[in-house]
Amino acid sequence: MTTTGGPSAELRIISARRSIPNHLREIWAFRELLGSLIRKELKVRYKNSALGFVWSMVQPVFLLVIYGVAFSILGQGFRDFPVWLMSGLVVWTLVNTTLVTSVQAITINATLVGKVNFPRAVLPLATLGSALVHFCLQFTTFFGVLLIARHHVDVAYLWLLPLAIIALSLFLAALVLVLSIFNVFARDTQHLLELALIAFFWALPIIYEYQRVTKWLTARHIPTWLPLLNPITSIIITFQRALYGSASVGTRLLLPDTSAWWYLRNIGIIAGVSLVLLALALRFFDRNEGNLAEMI
């Protein structure tokens, strides 16, 4: 018998359930597949286009210009409103693309799932991965434009951004694992999700500012930490605080006038909660994975 390195040497055990560490180990063993799928998704997206991934970078610049023109004519918003808007939108785009693509990650690959054995969690995670790559391209361009335009970026908050993205990724990972399975049970999940995302967009302080919500809540004696229960909100206001560069315009408060530690605390809570959610999601995924080939 020919012996080769890698997975061939070890003993594999297939049973109805596996522990979370084993599940993670299997996903890790297929990390190259994760990479290949991310590359594939990007390749397919830009197949037969001359500019390729440059399109990803053009989009934020174009949006900035359009918003700039539009809001200067309309006279809405506040100073540098397009920058404010974009700071939230880059995060929103990440959330939106991840969820919209991942919900179909398993159903779209039905033949594969029915015929090949690999950790199925790789499929939804790959859609998260390619959305992250896409996000990096967009963010880099956006940030580049800010630097070129000499926009005042708040360095004291900038270091929070990678942490925020890590926390957000953990949260999204948990979500995509659950959503992709739900869609196998009932294909309506993907349509419901589309509607939910439209509503969700308006629940986030992207077009309006966070302080407007807290002001509204204070007037009604409702605790102001309530919106922070939405983890995406915390991530978005962190981006706005760092990239828009200040918590206020003149005397108008846009964001809580707090130190970076307040933001860090929120990110920490999200990361912690997301880890628990991720563990639950992996468990849920594992319980259903063994029957996917038959249900799909």
């Binding site: 594939k40 594969l112 029915g114 063994g290």
Partner: protein, 390 residues
Amino acid sequence: MDSVVATGISKVFRLHENRPDSMKERIVHLGRNKKRDFQALQPMDLTISGGQTLGILGHNGSGKSTLLKVISGILRPTTGQVQLRGRIASLLELGAGFHPELTGRENVYINAAFLGISRKEIERRFDAIVDFAELSTFIDEPVKHYSSGMYVRLGFAVAINLDPDILLVDEVLAVGDEVFQQKCLDRVRQFQQEGRTIVVVTHAADVVRQVCQRAIVLDHGALIADSTPSDAIRVFREHLHGNLVDVGVDDTGSPLRIPKVAVHGGPSGDSKVLRPGDPLQLEVSFVATQTVEQPVLTVSIVSLSGQTVYEIDFDLIAQGVGPLSGEGTVRVPFTSVPLLDGRYSVTARISDRHDAGLSAMRMTRDGFSIDNPGVAHGVVALDVGGLSRT
């Protein structure tokens, strides 16, 4: 060392009556949606030692594909566990996961990644894969331009060139043109010689006889035989007979009927599974309310593929049976049936030489089958003496 050790594995599918595919149906049927558990695999143990070639026989719905999927981990067992030693590749997945927009080359890498093979390793084997698939000039074309044959060839080439320790084959040797099929079969043989473990799922008995050292038979999800290919094939054939329905024409009320054609085979005359050269007796029952003056009995033996292997007209007057009236049975003894592996239907027709309107027919699809213990394959069991050299 054992390649596959399955202990107490079973598989239960939860069937939803009118399975709700959408949430609307789910809500509409909430509470009164019937769920039924379907036992696709009964609890069983199965150990496949390294280097063994195992055949899994069973008719459609017997659970043989489910078993293969559980062994390969595509489905996970409801109870029990499977231990696998070594890399497993299955020929179930030919071309599954190819993306039409990507080139053959790009797809090979992704396909291999799905099998858990590193990029480095696939680079080393890339040329062998392309050679085997005979696609060197097309490898950088998007696979959407491939013919279905090229598609399958590439999938097969990837699976088989990845140096698997355990190879699972599911009825796929029937793809591609004959030359390629032969190439695949050769490769399977080479794998055997190299001492790899092979599991073949099929309902073609002669494939099992040709390549397997051991065979199991599944029926309704249960393991009903685990032995040598010959014994397993016999069990498989007998079960098939049990499952087949006798098909006839509706001839109630007609003046001449054949209610039954009984088949008695083998040396003892009580079997429907024969060895080549065994005797066989047909008993054609008839009911004639009107006398058939010049009866002719036609017997034909047709193979599963529809080929008439034998057909004969008996002039029953000349045979000394005489005119037919009332109820009775005409016996047709064959002293020897020199056929090879296969299942055969028997058709009997009685007609009157002078009265075209008076006739009856019955086809017994569940005729008999031949179980060949020898190595020869084909249609006819020719007698061959000892070889010699001069």
